[in-house]
């Protein structure tokens, strides 16, 4: 196992290094000067030049890259041009907000997925089945900004029960924070919920078709008990695997949902930093996303390796 890990790790770091280089170069190729945005709309060219010098942007590119990489390896991602504070702090705070949204969505997705999945097995009449399957299909494919808009229309405009956007940390003020979280989390959760519902339903159907289920049924165990106590626990492991794969989907979807609900997470930070050329922030943020992706891939590979010795040895 250690041998396998040792073989996989360099490639993972290779992707990260490649990414750091590509990100750095692409950003510098972008027209538009961060110093100019900092200088403000009525400023003069010499003010911009002074700011460029102050930020070290007048140094040769490779020297800039070297400094940045060396600092990054030590965990120092520099300071945001625009916001001033350390990039790590800023990113940490925004990641926290995105994680809050994603976790909220995950809770919704699990609840909805379980409910719809179980209903899929227990609802027997045709109309119910059709409705359920239509709901699932719609949830799966309708984009987050469409559901987000419909939710805003329903719960922030027609009945004013929830705020149409914004954020309040759920840790700082659980009651208010919860209300800000509800709509974006739901909009983000629906596609994942549909995927989970499908897995739950398939798993349940399979488990209920197994020999022990039929035996239990013939022994007179009530169907409800059979479903909850026997079939569901057996159906869950593949659902959990599917859940793991959905984390990436949720992160990607969060970017769009954040835009609809003015949620101050990674997506809004990315937009702000990219359009104002806040290089340190963009670099760290993109590199973070690559790191997450690489880590998830690595974990998946390791899981496969654990399950399948051929991969480990081959």
């Amino acid at each position: 196992m250690t041998g396998y890990l040792l073989r996989r790790l360099p490639s993972a770091f290779g992707v990260l290094l490649l990414a750091s280089f590509v990100i750095f170069l692409v950003l510098r190729a972008v027209p538009g000067d961060p110093a100019a945005t900092l200088a403000g709309s009525d400023s003069s060219p010499d003010a911009v030049a002074a700011i460029r010098h102050d930020l070290g942007l007048d140094r040769p590119l490779f020297a800039q890259y070297g400094t940045w990489l060396a600092d990054a390896v030590r965990g120092d991602f520099g300071r945001s041009y625009l916001i001033g504070g350390s990039v790590s702090d800023l990113l940490g705070q925004r990641i926290g907000n995105t994680v809050e949204l994603t976790l909220g969505a995950l809770l919704f997705a699990i609840t909805l997925g379980l409910v719809c999945g179980v209903l899929g097995v227990t609802v027997k009449n045709r109309i119910g089945q059709t409705l359920l399957s239509a709901f699932n299909s719609l949830s799966l494919v309708v984009p987050g900004y469409v559901t987000g808009f419909l939710l805003v229309f329903a719960f922030a405009v027609t009945w004013r029960v929830l705020p149409p956007g914004g954020h309040e940390s759920i840790l700082a003020d659980p009651q208010i924070g919860f209300q800000y979280l509800l709509m974006p989390a739901l909009a983000l959760a629906l596609p994942t919920a549909a995927v989970l519902a499908r897995y739950v339903k398939d798993g349940l159907e399979q488990a209920l078709g197994e020999d022990y289920s039929r035996t239990a049924k013939s022994l007179g165990i009530p169907p409800r008990r059979l479903l909850w106590r026997h079939a569901l626990p057996n159906a869950l492991p593949p659902v959990l695997t599917a859940l793991g794969m959905q984390v990436g989907v949720l992160l990607g979807g969060a970017v769009v949902v954040e835009a609809v609900f003015a949620w101050p997470g990674l997506g809004t930070l990315a937009e702000q930093a990219v359009t104002r050329r806040d290089y340190p922030v963009v670099q760290a943020l993109l590199l973070f996303l690559v790191a997450v992706f690489v880590a998830v891939q690595l974990l998946t590979d390791i899981a496969y390796a654990l399950l399948d010795p051929r991969v480990r040895l081959g």
Partner: protein, 525 residues
């Protein structure tokens, strides 16, 4: 719709939706859209100033520490934490004492003696002295601070410090906008300046003490118990929440989660405009003006008749009505009504006249025009309105949306295409400030690549006046307006209004001439 009505509907809906006991329990005690307990309950409608309470502000844009010494969009911060040397009376534009107690300008206008207020302390407890003024001036002169009034600060060549409360500024030449500089220049604590520029710690002498900032989320301020104005401020604290979406900010105001909403445009405020529970206050200074810029090095815009045609072709009143819901002043001159250079005649010089525009184009021999029109991607509506109006007189344009970095780079780098729409500031004070501080108007080097010895002469003459209100000064302002209106390299469209939307129980909120919110006398009652 009255607020209590939707409080009931909230519960019915949640019940109907079966949102469960948890949600009901939570919303029953506190709601993000519900009416906050009105603070005016026991006051019986009296509006006498009242001590105490915390003011909740909602702001559309966050504070940007790097822009602390510029005029930026974080309106709420500078005058909460900091003070300036003098402050204009908003009606007369006469400077009033603030950190400076009194002053004497030498007859030849080349030196100013200042006497500072005694007993003023920074929030750290350190006394405020002449050295802090020296530091603030030097700080503003640094190009990297990109303070728009740097040109005026640079005129101060030398400072004689006589005592901790007395100093004399020596000027290279007389300037008419010296008190604009004093209004603009916040006095920071020099010992913590580095922390101020990263937003960690902001130390000034102002009515509120900076407590914390969470980027993208909130700022928190506490009352300064040692503020030099006795018994002020009234509030115990100020909390600012950043709500980066206009409809969410309006919703927060409507539900009285915030008492004061900053940064909203006229169109955003439609839902509360006619609601008696809220007050929308309009300041005609400080939010700048929308304009169409013309690059005079591009044919046929090198011909001033073509630029004048553009000016006649744009329907300014429509922009005010449709784009700003009526808040704003349609004007072909840059000045707001409070400016000494303002006149009705110059504001209406280029009244909407498509026929005249066509005639001017024909006269200049400019036909079949297809020009690029750049704009900041957030100004989409304005750009589309200008494009449509220009099309009606036969000027076809292709819109080029630019993100902030590109827009700014091209603006400062003189690489704007034939036409662009943008916003400029600095027309609200002494007219010369515009021409020496706003880059689009700069006589030496500007985005339009416009240069004209006559313009330079007028700008310098307007700037180097000893007495800003003398008849010669006024004549110079008049000349400045005329040359701008004749040349039209910057085609002004609308002077924007700064809007404060507040709950009806908030009183005493004002702003200085640079649109910094002043809460010294604000209270809830």
């Amino acid at each position: 719709m009255s607020v209590p009505a939707f409080a009931t509907s909230r519960r019915t809906v949640l019940r109907a939706a079966g949102a469960g006991a948890v949600a009901l329990g939570l919303t029953a005690c506190k709601s993000a859209v519900d009416d906050r307990k009105s603070q005016s309950a026991g006051a019986g409608g009296s509006a006498a100033p009242k001590r105490g309470g915390t003011l909740q502000i909602g702001a559309l844009t966050d504070f940007t520490p790097a822009l602390l010494f510029t005029q930026s969009s974080s309106f709420f911060l500078p005058r909460l934490v900091f003070n300036t040397l003098t402050a204009y009376d908003p009606k007369t534009l006469a400077p009033q004492p603030q950190l400076a107690k009194s002053w004497q300008v030498a007859p030849d206008g080349t030196s100013v003696a200042l006497q500072l207020r005694e007993g003023v302390k920074f929030h750290t407890g350190r006394p405020f002295t002449s050295d802090d003024v020296v530091f603030a001036l030097a700080n503003l002169k640094e190009p990297k601070r990109s303070a728009q009034l740097r040109a005026t600060a640079a005129v101060v060549t030398d400072v004689d410090v006589k005592s901790p409360t007395e100093l004399t500024l020596r000027l290279a030449h007389p300037v008419s906008n010296l008190f604009d500089l004093f209004e603009f220049m916040i006095i920071p604590d020099k010992e913590t300046i580095d922390d101020a520029l990263t937003g960690k710690k902001l130390v000034g002498t102002g009515p509120f003490v900076f407590k914390s900032w969470t980027p993208g989320a909130s700022l928190s301020f506490a009352r300064n118990p040692d503020y030099f104005v006795p018994d002020r401020p009234y509030f115990d604290g100020v909390e600012v929440r950043i709500i980066g979406q206009s409809d969410a900010l309006v919703a927060a105001l409507r539900s009285k989660q915030v008492h004061l909403a900053l940064g909203l445009g006229g169109r955003d405020l439609q839902p509360v405009k006619d609601d008696k529970q809220f007050a929308v206050t309009q300041f005609d200074t400080g939010n700048g003006a929308w304009y169409v810029g013309a690059n005079v090095s591009v044919k046929p815009l090198d011909d001033k008749r073509v630029r004048q045609a553009v000016s006649y072709a744009v329907n300014r009143d429509r922009i005010v009505q449709q784009g700003l819901a009526g808040f704003g002043l349609a004007s072909s001159a840059p000045w707001p009504k409070s400016s000494p250079a303002y006149s009705d005649a110059t504001a209406k010089r280029y009244a909407y006249d498509p026929a005249k525009a066509k005639a001017l184009l024909a006269e200049a021999g400019a036909g079949n025009l297809d020009l690029p029109l750049a704009y900041l991607s957030s100004a989409q509506q304005l750009a589309q309105m200008v494009q449509f109006d220009l099309q009606q007189v036969g000027i076809k344009t292709t819109l080029e949306p630019l993100d902030p970095a590109k827009f700014q780079t091209q603006l400062i780098g003189q690489t704007m295409p034939a036409l662009w729409v943008g916003a400029h500031g600095f027309a609200q004070l002494h007219p010369s400030t515009l021409a020496v501080s706003a880059y689009p108007f700069n006589e030496a080097k500007n985005t339009s690549k416009f240069s004209d010895p006559r313009y330079t002469e007028i700008v310098q003459r307007a700037w180097q006046q000893v007495d800003a209100d003398s008849p010669t000064a006024r004549a110079a302002y008049q000349d400045l307006t005329e040359v701008l209106l004749d040349q039209q390299f910057v085609i002004d469209l609308v002077v924007l209004a700064q809007l404060y939307a507040a709950t009806g129980d908030l009183h005493g909120v004002t702003q200085n001439q640079f649109a910094s919110t002043v809460l010294d006398d604000a209270y809830l009652a």
